[in-house]
Amino acid sequence: MMLLEHHAKQLLHGAGVPVPDGFIVTAGFGPLPGDVAVPCMVKAQVPVGGRGKAGGIVKVASVAELPPTVDRLLELSIRNHPVRACRIEAMIDAISEAYLSLAIDADSGAVVVLAAAAGGVDIESPEMRRQLLRATAEPDPQSVLEAVQTIVSALPDTLRPAIGDVAARLTKLFFEREALLIEINPLFTTRDGGWIAGDAKILIDDNALPRQPMLRDLIETNPDLYPEAALKLAQGFDFVRLDPDGDIGLVTTGAGLSMQLVDEIVGRGHRPFNFCDIRTGGFRGDPSRLVQVFKWVASGPRVRSVLMNFFAGNTNLAELAPLILAALEQVPELRQPITLRMIGNGLDQAHAIIAASGNPIFIETDLERALDRALAASRENSHTRVAANA
């Protein structure tokens, strides 16, 4: 997962890489500190690039302009990510910008060091790509430091101290925190001969969180800023809100199949409210995970139909069916029609258990027909509401 810029800069600061002074504000913020130096930058904190072009980075000239600017940015959604926080940051008087990154190359299993004597937002342009210096190393600190030295020696004299120092610190941070990517773009150099990270992008490894207490803490203390990762840490499954106006709620298992279902629904002209990989293998006879997901799906203001999908390759549907019924009993607010697609072990028994309950869940074994049914239910449900309002 990608850290927000503010937290990435905190990690850099901790590693001895200079970053501009700054602090984070979230929705419902109180009075701002009185001593904020202006002009300053207000930067929307979202885990995607292209913030500047999307209007998510604003220069503010006076303290009075700060609160309304922050409020305005907190209303934004940038590439489908609601802005949940802003970083207010000191301006840097830069004389030049450079680029530096360390990344894992998944194909070769190497660490790739990239640097350029120019940086900025256009690093991905073909022109900039040609200017990039590149070295690859075995995935250990010593080899990466050697790769860094190769690159530093090819840089202009003026940049060698900055890139050399920062790259050595990033190498240490990269291995200590088990990063997948650390990128500084731009790395500013200043009039006094110093350097400072203008922006920072760090991808951390979700799989390493169990042995990275500092990163785990960061996510656990900021569940509002990292809702998906915090949920995964706390409860061991995935739930991503995709579209606040979505009409289809999904209660599904399996990452790939759930992603595919989202695609199939969008391809048929509907809008999934969420992505979900509930991991039935982790239920162990307890319906609480289902209760949680039913509640979230029911909270979607425009959700008109719910599709559940369970391909029981290794689990048993006969054990799942009573859990579904028990969970639904605990979430009476879920009134949308439910289409339950089940296939695999224990199907007949599961079918009988649900039929005997009298619950009006519609059961289907074929996925195409289940999709048709769930989407039709959404359209019918919508007509019903319109008629009721008329």
């Binding site: 997962m1 990608m2 979202v46 885990p47 995607v48 690039g49 590439r79 489908n80 990510h81 894992i104 998944a106 194909d107 070769s108 299993g109 190497a110 991905e124 690859t136 190393a137 075995e138 995935p139 291995f175 088990e178 997948l180 990517l181 991808l203 490894d205 979700d206 799989n207 390493a208 169990p210 042995r211 998906e228 990762a229 995935d238 991503v240 995709l242 298992t253 399996g254 990452a255 790939g256 199949l257 759930s258 992603m259 595919q260 989202v262 695609d263 199939e264 969008v266 391809g267 999934p272 992505f275 990989d277 391909f311 390759g313 290794n314 296939i343 695999g344 996925l367 195409e368």
Partner: protein, 319 residues
């Protein structure tokens, strides 16, 4: 850093003796029973614990198990943070092919495992995979029986569940598999799509290749390059999941993370189409295309493997 040459010939022979690492854990014990019931030649288990009820002889290390039973391949059920040590143990014991199923192996561990298996010439499949199977003969991992049938399709997949669904529907339509390899949903892994191309290209029983890919990384793009480089002229049917995924957020699979212009559906679709593959957004359309291309009821004329099939595992050879 060099890349080993791709494998040639079959990945593993159906009668290869196999051991199970993590054989006494909850999952390991259950899946061992499932693999044995499927007909897989499971000869030993490795575990730090004893288990009176174990159906197979247990050993403390792969070296001991290999010495006593002649096991040549391993399927590993140890938890994610223990996988790297298990891989080292397998290498030290002389195992030639290891499948690690655990989801959640740290990427920096995967880097070390990748370097170590490569240096030792050991084939690694995983992490985060339901495993692999030669339908009707052998299963390493837990691909569901309902989706497995002998047939003429070579299958490579990142996602477990999506591949279960696709193969289930293909089997219902009459199309089974020669070999199905789940490469796993993580970004750093032992065997990538492209590594499997020479195997499927050279296998006379494989009439078509089904690719179940998804957003993130460059694996589908590399696959396209390998198809062109190999001159593989078998029909390739690809399903790519995640076109509606949210950039910057992990969609269940650690590897399914889009960043800037890399790993999008568009780059993957374009690359695969340039290599002559058919790419589908819908499962239904893929199944129809397989049926239209390979003809009705290919299951009925599934190729039995020739008796002269090479026995044993083809090793990675160092250049």
């Amino acid at each position: 850093m060099h890349k080993p040459p791709p494998l040639h010939g079959p990945l593993i022979a159906a009668d290869t003796p196999i051991l199970v690492q993590g054989a006494t854990g909850r999952s390991g014990r259950a899946q061992t029973a499932g693999m044995i019931a499927y007909g897989t030649k499971i000869v030993a288990g490795v575990s730090p614990r004893d288990d009176e009820a174990s159906a197979i002889p247990l050993f403390r290390s792969c070296a001991d198990a290999v010495a006593a039973t002649g096991a040549r391949a391993s399927v590993c059920f140890v938890p994610p943070l223990g996988v790297l040590e298990a891989v080292y143990d397998a290498i030290a014991g002389g195992i030639e092919l290891i499948v690690t199923v655990a989801e959640g192996m740290p990427v920096h561990d995967a880097l070390k495992a990748k370097a170590a298996t490569r240096a030792a010439g050991v084939r690694w499949i995983g992490p985060s995979t339901p495993g692999m199977a030669i339908p009707g003969k052998l299963k390493m991992g837990f691909l569901p029986n309902v989706s497995l049938a002998p047939g003429s399709l070579g299958v490579m997949s990142k996602s477990g569940t999506l591949s279960y669904e696709v193969c289930y529907r293909l089997v219902k339509a009459g199309f089974g598999q020669t070999l199905w390899v789940g490469v796993g949903g993580d970004s750093v892994k032992g065997t990538r799509f492209a590594d499997l191309v020479p195997i499927f290209a050279a296998d006379p029983a494989t009439e078509g290749i089904v690719v179940i890919g998804e957003i993130g990384g460059r694996e589908e793009e590399e696959l396209a390059e390998a198809l062109i480089a190999t001159g593989c002229d078998k029909p390739v049917f690809a399903l790519l999941a995640g076109r509606s995924a949210l950039e910057g957020v992990t969609m269940g699979h650690a590897g399914a993370l889009i960043q800037s212009n890399v790993g999008t559906i568009d780059t993957k679709t374009a690359a695969l189409r340039r290599a002559g593959a058919q790419v589908f957004p819908r499962i239904h359309d893929l199944v129809e295309a397989v049926a239209a291309t390979l003809g009705a009821n290919a299951l009925g004329r599934a190729h039995p493997r020739p008796a002269a099939e090479p026995i044993g595992i083809v090793k990675w050879e160092q250049p």
